[in-house]
Amino acid sequence: MSKTLGIDWRKCIGCGSCADVCSARILGSYSNDGSRIRILRSELHAIFLPILCLQCEEHPCVASCPVGAIQFAEEGCPRVSVLEAVCVGCGSCAEVCPHRGVVIFRGKAMMCDLCSGNPACVQMCYSGALQWSESGAPIAHVRQHAEQVAGFGRVADE
């Protein structure tokens, strides 16, 4: 059974360190860009929602890609991956992702690659919002996350 990165968004306190260490992997420095995990923030209601690719079973990103740059494997860590050389940065995958887990960075689609088995973001998360577990993300949990993400725009704009 492969490990998965689960999110308990109710525990997210919005510290932002997950995004900082993720960006450091690519940039060597800490930035708002270049991170595969981001946080939707409503300071007003103190609700924070980490968003990233959840390696979901539906993976609409694969079919949405006009050039076939996205692959989904049955096993492995990660299961979703982008062939950078093929990707043209059109953003179709980002549009269809129910978790808003795709980032377009320097003209290419980018998704969480689980740091090949030792996610840096999980190491930073003391509150327990990000969990690296053997149990696998249950479908219901993943759907709930998608619902939260879809509804977040309303909350954030108030």
Binding site: K11, I13, G14, C15, G16, S17, D20, V21, S23, A24, L27, G28, S29, Y30, S31, N32, D33, R41, E43, L44, H45, A46, F48, A120, Q123, M124, C125, Y126, S127, A156, D157, E158
Partner: protein, 712 residues
């Protein structure tokens, strides 16, 4: 040349809408670290003594530390520095949230505001573009409304610092709210901002924060996180926030109740962290940047006349608005917290002012009618909420209370000054220092006034293992971890002050270095090396903190040569009346004993606590800070003849005594300090020659004062 250790500073002149960009060299990093330290230096050098806190010359400095923008745990702190309209002295106020990180990501380390805008303005900092905008539409809005409006107009990725009606109305303890619910509190820096007609500052940045050794830093960060994981205190803060302190303090009978008249309040547990969480009033809030401790809470009252929601509350708010006023209705206090946040009002001083009012009415010094129909008695939640509203808008009795307890008592007269629980013009934080001696010393020596955010020597209680370990390290035995002992407290306070100053200057939170005792000085040394590429010895790092502490003291002595480290009158003269600490007091003798040792440890002048020339020399301040000599005291000799002898200060020989002066002191100042009334038209001789009140004096002068003499 270490670019990471240089500072990029924006000087914003609000009078002329000009921006000047300056760089400070890495030498200043080595000396002051940044954040609070650099703020203190710029405040001292950038203005002369004696400026009007609400005038254009008073600088309002926003500074952050070099660790902000990195994932070093708790690296999200901003320091706001200015001269306070409440105390007339140096004032720094720290705040978390996300503004400091945004400033660093915009490529700035500090922003200094000077001048005064002719019309209401808000400033945007968009990477290197700083612009001025008309704020007429925002003026009058609460901090929350203004923040929402700016998020709507500019975008949600902007961080906002704003004042509310309290700052606009120049309430002497108005604060600046950051990231909607985080407060840069105490001292009225919101009024300084309001006097400048600066409604808000919005910042957004797209730069990356670079560090010297990313791999090394990540390892250090991981080890800090492990320590946080095993810290009971950190867990308590994550689950219940600072409100978790309240049950403990009440149980210990050291909770200030009804203006420090009592020490325990039945029902106060309904204001504590576990009650608020259990009943569903309070949950996890918004952590400051990079902070895993996440102490900040979010509270909501769903129904009823106190319905609403906001960030917080903190212990001080619950103790100040709640227990202090005798109010145990959590919903009323939560409403009070919400209003203080929305109006941009310091809840500690607001609580202190309200308590002063209630006691004044209780004692018959003020009529109950002064409340304009309000029921001015202890324990009334509706009165509490109504008074906060009036203070923020300076309505009715709110106008008197908005001046702070020192000035309000001066206006009202009688004995009301005795229960104005303040020193320097700052209301005391909700700690009964009579039974917490390290806190007593820390409050007395705090340059901003009697408050906890200078040293926070929680180790003196010995509640946690880390605390007892620290006391043992400092003094050889953990028996000194006893709050009613005065022995060993100067050493305990000094360690905490040093570490607090370094903490504030690097931009991390005092909860990590003091309170939870997770990051110690050796770890800070390593973290700074990895983040900034700068190698300090432990002594150099401690000296950097000390420099800040001494500089703060210098600013204050430049303002007021005769000032002393004291506590509010009530705590120094009225003992605790009930409970296990009955009889305890911060008597002058007891305080002086601790101060004597404290001054000795610091190399300050005995009795007065003034910085000495030698001290400034040894810390390199004498050569580095422009105009620092103005804070060194020199003396004149005063001779009082005949009936004038009655005006000699207590214990001084009227025939000849020394009086400290600064470069601005005039003979008129001396007459005022000695309380010699103008009407007496004394004859004044300066060095044997006739002189007048407007004449300035210099070191070594001899001033002779006598009543008008006639010939015969």
């Amino acid at each position: 040349m270490n670019r990471l250790a240089e500072f990029r500073i924006a000087y914003v002149d609000l009078s002329r809408r000009l921006v000047n960009v300056k760089t400070m060299s890495s030498k200043d990093f080595g000396l002051y670290l940044g954040g609070r330290g650099l703020g203190a230096k710029i405040l001292y050098e950038g203005q002369a003594g004696g400026v009007d806190p609400l005038g254009p010359e008073n600088q309002l400095i926003f500074s952050t530390g070099k660790l902000v923008g990195t994932p070093v745990p708790t690296a999200g702190q901003l320091t706001v520095t200015s001269k306070s309209p409440a105390t007339g002295l140096y004032f720094k106020s720290n705040v978390g949230g996300g503004w400091a990180k945004a400033l660093r990501r915009a490529g700035w380390d500090l922003v200094v505001f000077t001048g005064q805008a002719p019309e209401a303005v808000y400033v945007t900092i968009d990477d290197s573009t700083i612009s001025f905008h008309d704020a007429t539409q925002l003026w009058g809005k609460t901090t929350r409304e203004a923040t929402i409006a700016l998020h709507r107009d500019l975008g949600h990725d902007w961080e906002v610092a704003a004042i509310g009606p309290a700052g606009e109305n120049l309430v002497r303890y108005a604060n600046i709210m950051v990231s909607t619910y985080h407060a840069a509190g105490r001292g009225g820096l919101g009024a300084v901002m309001g006097a400048k007609r600066l409604k808000a500052i919005a910042v957004r940045g797209s730069c990356a924060t670079a560090v010297a050794d990313e791999t090394g830093l990540r390892q250090l960060v991981t080890s800090v996180l492990k320590r946080i994981g095993s810290s009971g205190k950190a867990r308590l803060l994550l689950d219940y926030g600072t409100p978790s302190t309240l049950e403990l303090v009440n149980e210990r009978s050291s909770l200030p109740v009804r203006n420090f008249q009592q020490n325990h309040l039945a029902g106060a547990n309904r204001l504590g962290g576990s009650y608020l969480v259990e009943k569903g009033y309070m949950r996890s809030g918004s952590a400051c940047s990079a902070c895993p401790i996440g102490c900040h809470k979010f509270s909501e009252v769903k129904t009823g006349r106190f319905a609403g929601y906001s960030g917080g509350p903190e212990y001080e708010t619950l103790a100040g608005l709640g227990a202090g006023c005798g109010v145990t209705d959590a919903e009323a206090v939560l409403k009070g917290n919400e209003l203080c946040n929305d109006y941009g009002l310091d809840s500690i001083s607001a609580g202190g002012a309200i308590q002063w009012l209630l006691e004044s009415v209780e004692r018959g010094v003020l009529p109950i009618s002064i409340g304009g129909g309000l029921d001015l008695r202890w324990g009334d939640g509706d009165t509490l909420v109504a008074l906060i509203d009036r203070i923020a808008h300076r309505e009715g009795v709110g106008d008197l209370l908005a001046e702070g307890t020192l000035r309000a008592a001066q206006r009202v007269g009688g004995d009301s000054w005795k229960w104005a629980v303040q020193a320097n013009g700052l209301e005391q934080s909700r700690v009964d220092t009579r039974c917490s001696k390290a806190y007593a010393l820390a409050f007395a020596v705090n340059p901003r006034g009697p408050d906890h955010l200078h040293a926070q020597p929680m180790a003196e209680y010995g509640y946690f293992a880390e605390a007892r370990r620290l006391v043992e390290e400092l003094l050889g035995s953990d028996r000194y971890a006893d709050p009613v002992l005065t022995e060993g407290k100067p050493e305990i306070v000094r360690w905490h002050e040093d570490v607090f100053a370094i903490t504030d200057s690097l931009g991390i939170c005092s909860f990590a270095t003091t309170t939870c005792y997770i990051i110690d000085v050796p770890m800070l040394k390593d973290i700074v090396a990895a983040a900034v590429g700068w190698t300090f010895t432990e002594k150099e790092l401690l000296d950097a903190g000390r420099r800040t502490l001494v500089l703060e003291r210098c600013f204050n002595f430049r303002e007021d040569p005769g000032r002393r480290d004291v506590l509010p009158w009530r705590l120094m003269n009225e003992p605790i009346s009930e409970g296990p600490y009955r009889g305890q007091m911060n008597s002058a003798a007891e305080l002086e004993e601790m101060l004597e040792r404290y001054y000795e440890l610091h190399g300050l002048e005995p009795r007065t606590g003034r910085p000495t020339r030698d001290l400034l020399l040894s810390l390199g301040l004498l050569e580095d800070v422009v105009g620092i000599e103005a804070s060194l005291w020199e003396e004149v000799e005063v001779k009082l003849f005949f009936a004038m002898a009655a005006y000699a200060p207590l214990g001084q020989d009227s025939a000849s005594f020394k009086l400290p002066i600064c470069s601005r002191t005039t003979i008129g100042d001396i007459l005022e300090r000695l309380r010699i009334p103008e009407e007496l038209s004394s004859v004044i001789l300066l060095n044997g020659r006739g002189s007048s009140a407007d004449q300035r004096v210099t070191a070594g002068d001899v001033v002779a004062i006598m009543p008008p003499v006639g010939g015969g």
